[in-house]
């Protein structure tokens, strides 16, 4: 059942992506990308990644969409027709995709409990989280304690984005003329 649901949702995602590639109305594109995020989040639920689904829904379908709409409000709504035929991008994408598919040949099969990914580090977390931290949500424990340094980095990334947006957009309204060069030191 889960497999089937997964495949159906992935198929819907494919349809959405095709829409995004071809539709030139940016409003529709943004809406479809919101749908894409919701679908990705549903896949995460099916694949047991509830915390990730939570985040993807809140971020991809929520904040990102609102920000995109905010940007559209400040810019424009229609994409221009592409001027040249995209042969080169197509080749690049084909090579990249082929490399990934080649790389998938020796991957552990989908859902394999014996895969090396599930045997080395992961069981340690599942066994010890309760003992070390007393928290039943393993993802939270790993996120905040075992890999707390990553999460610190993540908070700093968000912090960077915040001050970046303020630096780029905050109160530049006074005019953008750069200061004139100082030909000599004023006395």
């Amino acid at each position: 059942m889960e497999e089937a649901v997964n495949i159906v949702i992935l198929a819907l995602m494919a349809v959405t992506v095709i829409g995004i590639v071809f539709i030139r109305n940016l409003m529709a594109v943004v809406m479809l990308s919101g749908i894409y995020s919701l679908l990705a989040a549903s896949v995460f639920v099916v694949l047991d990644a509830v915390d990730v689904a939570f985040t993807e829904a809140a971020v991809g379908a929520g904040i990102s969409t609102v920000l995109f709409i905010g940007t559209l409000a400040l810019t424009t709504r229609i994409e221009k027709k592409p001027a040249h035929k995209p042969y080169l991008p197509f080749i690049v994408v084909a090579i990249t995709g082929a490399a990934l598919i080649y790389g998938s040949f020796d991957m552990a099969r989908f859902g394999d409990a014996e895969a090396v990914t599930n045997k080395h580090v992961a069981p340690y977390y599942l066994e010890n989280t309760k003992k070390h931290t007393g928290i039943p949500n393993v993802v939270t424990a790993v996120l905040a304690s075992y890999r707390g340094y990553d999460t610190l980095g993540e908070v700093v990334v968000i912090f960077t984005a915040g001050i970046g947006v303020i630096l780029l957009l905050g109160s530049w309204r006074r005019g953008l003329t750069p200061p004139a060069p100082h030909k000599r030191d004023e006395a």
């Binding site: 552990a108 977390y125 990553d150 912090f159 001050i163 060069p181």
Partner: protein, 493 residues
């Protein structure tokens, strides 16, 4: 007690101070905090260098969890070398920023600029020190995001498009690195670099997942390095960024990306996999030679001196990759020494251009005509940095070329040595154009009144220029540590 925690502190101090800058909100306070933070992390890096030389590899377990379960900070000679480069350049550039036009431009948001600057420093240092593959990505993104912002602060509107282009290409590069890390995780079940390298033979060297991971890593890192055919973002970004930012990024950001490549190719994948199983040495050499020549030739035709230097950076990356492609201790030593020396010379040259920009508001070669008469000290510094870039004896640039040629001759490839010398000659051409204009042409009428750059801009630039000469004579530290690092890299396979 603090000594044991140095690996964490050198990262945490700039990070915390970046947040403090936002909290304090006063330009002068933010400046003081930023200055102290960069100096503190430079001092910390120097202490770490001493410790690494005396004690060997230092491992620091973040949160007290043993690797591979927790995140490990791992400091060996190469890591600490990068830490010194980043924090050293950071310490010199931070006081320089105080009086630049950039700070007048951002006005009341100067404290945010310092915050972004510290974050960039912290991200680059975090990448240099971590022993965990995914953590590397996180810190790489801290440095990338802050550098997009810093570049976009340029006065010209083209700074915005340059930053956007860099954002798109940089994010693709970072996502490729994420894919590579995911594939490695899929093959080995671990994220710790040392642990991955131990477990790779188990996964098998003919494992397609590992091979694909290698390909994605090289392309992803190549995008971040601006390795020759993937370099389009770099000239625009460095040309239009504010001078302070160009100096800092040109001296550090690409170096750290080269470090990522070195670390993964040699430590994680190992020499045996990267060069014996996969035939990658020759492609690296070809790319390196193309990178040494084509961008240099393009640089000869540029009108904007910053753009000349930016293309020259792409060319210099060629030397680093050449040393990597030789797959020998000598070649790697040359690469690593060049990381350091190139940081010194590009830092110096961009800082000098910042001085000129401060006075005349342009880096265009025609506007710089005759400038040497009004700004003799500034142009003297430019000549000094330029000599190093060309590789004249007694400068740092000479040392790296010398070691590179030695490494090439060790392999018996004398024609490569000829190519290296030839490409240095091209550097003479593009730098001569600038010097010719500055010394032998008449200045434009409106620029006859320009005076020497203010001391607080000139002094940092001269510090780096003098460092170029110092490390051209006394190589015990720069080459010594690089040799230890190179041996460790080659031995790890």
């Amino acid at each position: 007690m603090l000594k044991a925690h140095l690996p964490a502190l050198v990262i945490i101090i700039p990070m915390t101070c970046a947040a403090l800058c936002v909290l304090l909100r006063r330009k002068d306070w933010a400046f003081t905090v930023a200055l102290l933070a960069t100096w503190a992390s430079f001092a910390g890096s120097c202490l770490l260098l001493v410790r690494v030389i005396n004690e060997g590899v230092i491992s620091y377990e973040m949160g007290g969890w043993p690797p591979p379960f927790g995140i490990e900070l791992r400091v060996d000679a190469l890591n600490v070398y990068l830490l010194i480069i980043v924090s050293g350049i950071g310490s010199v550039v931070a006081p320089y920023a105080r009086n630049s036009l950039l700070l007048e431009y951002v006005e009341d948001r100067a404290y945010l600029f310092y915050s972004a600057y510290l974050l960039c420093l912290c991200g680059l240092m975090g990448v240099s020190i971590t022993g965990d593959a995914f953590n590397l990505f996180v810190f790489l993104e801290i440095s990338s995001l802050s550098s997009y912002v810093l570049i976009a602060l340029g006065f010209d509107r083209r700074a915005l498009t340059a930053a956007y282009q860099y954002l798109v290409m940089g994010t693709i590069g970072a996502t490729f690195i994420v894919i590579a890390i995911g594939l490695l995780y899929q093959a080995t079940g671990s994220l710790n670099m040392v642990d991955i390298s131990k477990r790779l033979p188990e996964a098998g060297y003919d494992n397609t997942t590992v091979i694909a991971a290698f390909a994605f890593l090289v392309v992803g890192a190549g995008l971040k390095i601006a390795l020759f055919p993937l370099h389009q973002w770099l000239p625009n970004a460095y040309t239009h960024a504010p001078s302070t930012v160009s100096a800092f990024l040109a001296a550090t950001a690409t170096k750290v990306s080269v470090y990522i490549l070195l670390r993964f190719v040699f430590t994680v994948f190992g020499v045996r996999f990267s060069f014996e199983i996969l035939p990658t040495a020759t492609p690296f050499l070809i790319l390196a030679i193309l990178a040494m020549f084509l961008p240099s030739i393009v640089a000869c035709f540029q009108k904007n001196v910053k753009r000349v230097l930016a293309y020259s950076s792409v060319a210099q990356i060629g030397y680093m990759i050449l040393g990597l492609g030789l797959v020998s201790v000598a070649g790697l030593t040359a690469s690593i020494v060049h990381l350091f020396n190139h940081a010194l010379m590009k830092g110096a040259l961009f800082l000098v251009l910042g001085c000129i920009f401060y006075r005349i508001g342009s880096c265009h070669i025609d506007r710089m005509a005759g400038i040497a008469r009004q700004m003799p000290w500034t142009m003297a510094a430019f000549v000094g940095g330029g000599l190093s870039l060309i590789g004249i004896p007694l400068t740092a640039g000479f040392i790296s070329k010398w070691y590179l040629i030695l490494a090439v001759l060790e392999k018996g490839w004398w024609y490569l040595a000829v190519l290296i010398v030839t490409s240095s000659l091209i550097a003479i051409i593009y730098l001569w154009r600038v010097i010719e204009a500055a010394y032998f042409r008449e200045p434009p009428d409106d620029l006859k009144e320009v005076s020497e750059a203010p001391l607080n801009l000139l002094v940092p630039a001269w510090i780096l220029v003098l460092a170029n000469f110092y490390f051209g004579i006394d190589t015990s530290i720069s080459v010594g540590v690089a040799e230890i690092a190179a041996k460790a890299l080659m031995g790890a396979g």
